[in-house]
Symmetry: D2
Subunit: 340 residues, 4 copies
């Protein structure tokens, strides 16, 4: 039985608690939050779980094997490092840290302590994203031409990170998980409509060595919630709509065929492109909760000394990309290199 | 009775012919195309219309009062100029010309010849766009925070212009028509997946003096057709979905209210934002065909010596913006000034 | 060249004219309507077509080989019979006649005159319905358990027939076209909200010898337009949504499997049913206009002396069913036999 | 503090437990189920709740004030009666009993015992249904012409009741809640595709003294889940789509206006009907969980000695209607009187 402590019981924490609580082989032994109301809420729901306002009560508890951290991003590094130093395995929400330096340091330290370090890139554990990864890797859609993500809704305006760090981090982790090729550079633009100056709307374009392009559109101020990724290949195309309750992934047998690549007469180029439009199919997806799969994976990595799918390196790559986007934003959309 | 000649009977030309044909007060007297098959098609449908492969047959015909030009963009300037020199009123499809120099020259010449010069910014004549303009001008949605346009579909790859000149020109004309403020600069990124090097996917961000941002996403290689514009104000928000057969415009009484602008405690900033979510309504739109309205407007401008809604200046502003986007594309997304 | 005369140029007639006009091998020589405005409309569009207010001008014209009738249903029988007596092939809109006696008489007469008699069951010529027929006949969905049709919209209230004769006739023709088994009885209920007493809402349930059930729901007073048919088989299920511009037909690999048919323990019956849920696919449909296919088929039947897909017998079966529904409506939903 | 005992912890029971558990002023003291696995599940989630396989442990517990019954319908009467005889207030899931005789007997007994008897017509506690009731009562949609309900999905096939008792009971309770007029008769048709003979597809038409008609379409064997009610008035129309996450209720300013009711010329009747089509609006709905509201209402009725909104009489009316539908089903759709 792996004993887990949870630090942070705000918006997302209770979901982590529920999932570890209901996973065989784990016991949620203690929860920590600075807000007594949140602790009351947990205590009412789960009378068996110990509560505390002091995170050291969690870290110093010798019964605790592993810690899950669901606090504001700015606290991730310090809490995760201290947890590792108390020989706990660490699960930390995304983004893993506020800077790539912190992330790299955490990876080193977890290696030294021989503890699992896993970041909560939850979409890497959804049935939809894994089905898409499988389809792309099978070659079914051919060479990937583009990856277009829209992730918009009304709120919640974060106070310590902007919309890129909050929402685009999901799309970057999905992009890196399903495609092997990594980007070389990006441009980012955006705007803030609040006093804090934190951008609430942003657009990122990622450039690659091949003829792949990726674009991410995030917005905290949208009247409707959209969670959509379109992936276009030279053979087929995929639409992933995460809002759809059951028909999340559609594979379109659509595209263009360029008939004569050598012909030079550009005036007739229009005639050389053939548009294909065939069947559409929606693969069956297992109705699993991604966070449940993620919690079990963390448990499995601890028990079997495995490297998590979303390990520290994965968290670092996302943070490096977010930093580049931040630099581009601050430089009027200037092209910035990415080294991931 | 105003007699019209049409130059260009390809994809869009027949729509112009049909609308002028069915408009009282106009007669389509002659049509021109280089392709005899297109002329046969017109002749079969409209036996009363004269056909020709020589555009000068149209321009030199003394019965003809006005000419509508629906040819490739690269020919717009020369044809429109020659039509004006033969004292014809000119309706030219969008974009008005290939360069802003050409557009400016055309405006001057039409003024000198005292002839109507109108560009086919067809969306400015839709019931939906006019309703949106009316709502924004009434103050109902408050200050406009953003304008987000998505215009994507599969094909048709143009051979002489890229996807920005083809599709984004619509969104730019809509943006300039419904909002008074004009952008100061833009960034554009994109990619070409065909040998011609013409971009088939592009993203444009437009920056303004106020805290407005605009973004345009265009793609010729999408598995589905999307024609959507979201406009967010500080009071309400609008979604315009042009694919919807009847429910094209939705007004959302949604937004944020920032409760205490002076408070400095950023840690509690989250609490200072209130999310409002009220009724949604869909205004009734008249089921008119935009091109019909546009053709009648051209006729009205000729008869009553009026300046068209989408006059040469409107066409010039759009071309200047497309040129800036082109420069940014060629300079890796660099910020480019716009002077419109 | 087959010369066609059209009688009736109201709502649907112009579509028939356009399609015959644009079909190679046919010439629309003359059109008839009692309303001079409709004739003006046709003349303006098609100056080559002769117009008349007297239907005998059409029937007595020796150049005319075939007649298409798109007039109110109450006139179908007399006009079609007279056209046959003048040795014209006859295409008549649905329903073929006002009574089954009339329809049977027309069939006899057309056989005697050796002329083609075809009824305009237009859905039998759509790509969607033919794809569904093909899928059902392939055995892919297994035994058919149900056929549920919803055909509702706002207007047009017909003045001489009720909503069953107007709208349900489409669903009955589709049902008979795609399924071999014919119903033995039906129940119909409905209501009229207008002074004429013509029902504007109605529901029909059709019963079969096998464990198939069909239900048709029609309504002229719906705020939205719905054109949907769901067909459930014991292997797969089909949803046909005719409003969808491109994704009209979806095949669901869903259903139940009854595990042990002999087990008597009804308390555990719940456990014996397994719910299957697999992939969904949307077959590619050719983007043809059904009326075009229908017009060509009529031409082909004339030229090659073939029996039309939607021949007089097909029209008669639909009318017999409508008559039974009418009797049931008048008898408070009583079960009525059908002999088709 | 009202102490509650729950009998039945299967599919729906845990939702009741969770809601009473989280409602201030109530304590879930004990839960009963025949299946030890279900009890284990409850115990793991709520260690503070006592569990038992014997329902008498609940009924005889003197601390218990009220009992919630979520067992198969055939057991409702005996359990509710025994609970009342132990002086417990009773909340029983819908339908209240298997027969109207049982329901009437239960009402009498609860009156004699002066205990609250409430039936779980959960939709009467949704924000959507209450908003619709408010709109109808305000006169905004005018006289109601029709109520059309579709409630279909794949499974769960009940083993002791058919699809009418399972699903149509919801629509009947909604119909009776939002409209004052009660039906005088009904017709029902349907079919069973399983060995038990329990109908899994059914259609009910309800007739009223006024020109209102209601129709309910239920199906356990549908490839997709639909929960839709359309209500047409002579002024406006309402669509209630319970699957929509946020845009559940739409009010359409659409309908017909009959211009001259006295005119007798039926040939011109078509011209006398005008189709109106105005704005659509979607009223804001509070995002409350209906079952939470329902649990609080039960508590309020106990504390303040009030008659519940969905009292025994309400349950009886629904059961009488289900019985009439059952008789009609067994008599080939024959019209059956309803006395509610």
């Amino acid at each position: 039985m792996i004993k887990i402590g949870i630090i942070g019981c705000g918006y997302w924490g209770p979901n982590i608690i529920r999932n570890f609580y209901e996973t065989d082989g784990t016991e949620v032994a203690i929860c920590c939050d600075l807000n007594p109301d949140r602790l009351d809420f947990i205590e009412k729901r789960y009378p068996s779980i110990k509560i505390t306002e002091k995170y050291l009560d969690v870290l110093k508890d010798p019964r605790i094997d592993a810690v899950a951290i669901a606090t504001p991003v700015s606290t991730h590094f310090a809490l995760a490092k201290e947890a590792l130093s108390h020989n706990k395995h660490v699960f930390v929400e995304k983004p893993i840290c506020s800077t790539s330096l912190q992330a790299a340091s955490l990876i080193d330290f977890s290696n030294k302590k021989k503890k699992v370090l896993m970041v909560g890139h939850v979409f890497e554990y959804t049935a939809a994203v894994n089905k898409i990864k499988e389809i792309i890797e099978s070659g079914e859609i051919g060479n990937v031409f583009y990856f277009n993500a829209w992730r918009v809704n009304l709120g919640i305006f974060q106070h310590d990170i902007n919309v890129i760090w909050d929402l685009a981090s999901h799309d970057i982790s999905i992009l890196y998980y399903i495609l092997k090729e990594k980007p070389l550079s990006l441009n980012a633009t955006g705007i803030s409509h609040v006093k804090s100056g934190m951008e609430n709307i942003a657009y990122i374009t990622l450039h690659f060595k091949s003829n792949l392009i990726a674009h991410i559109h995030v917005n905290w101020l949208s009247p409707v919630k959209i969670r959509q990724i379109v992936i276009g290949g030279d053979k087929k195309m995929i639409i992933y709509d995460d809002i759809e309750p059951s028909e999340k992934v559609k594979i379109y047998d659509k595209g263009i065929t360029i008939k004569n690549k050598n012909q030079e007469d550009t005036l007739k180029a229009e005639l050389q492109i053939e548009y294909r439009s065939g069947d559409v199919y929606l693969p069956k997806l297992e109705p699993t909760e991604a966070l449940r799969v993620e919690c079990r994976h963390f448990l499995d990595c601890i028990l079997n000394k495995r490297t998590p799918r979303s390990d520290g390196e994965s968290g670092l790559r996302v943070v490096k990309t977010l930093e580049a986007a931040q630099r581009s934003l601050e430089n009027h959309g200037r092209k910035e290199k990415i080294d991931v």
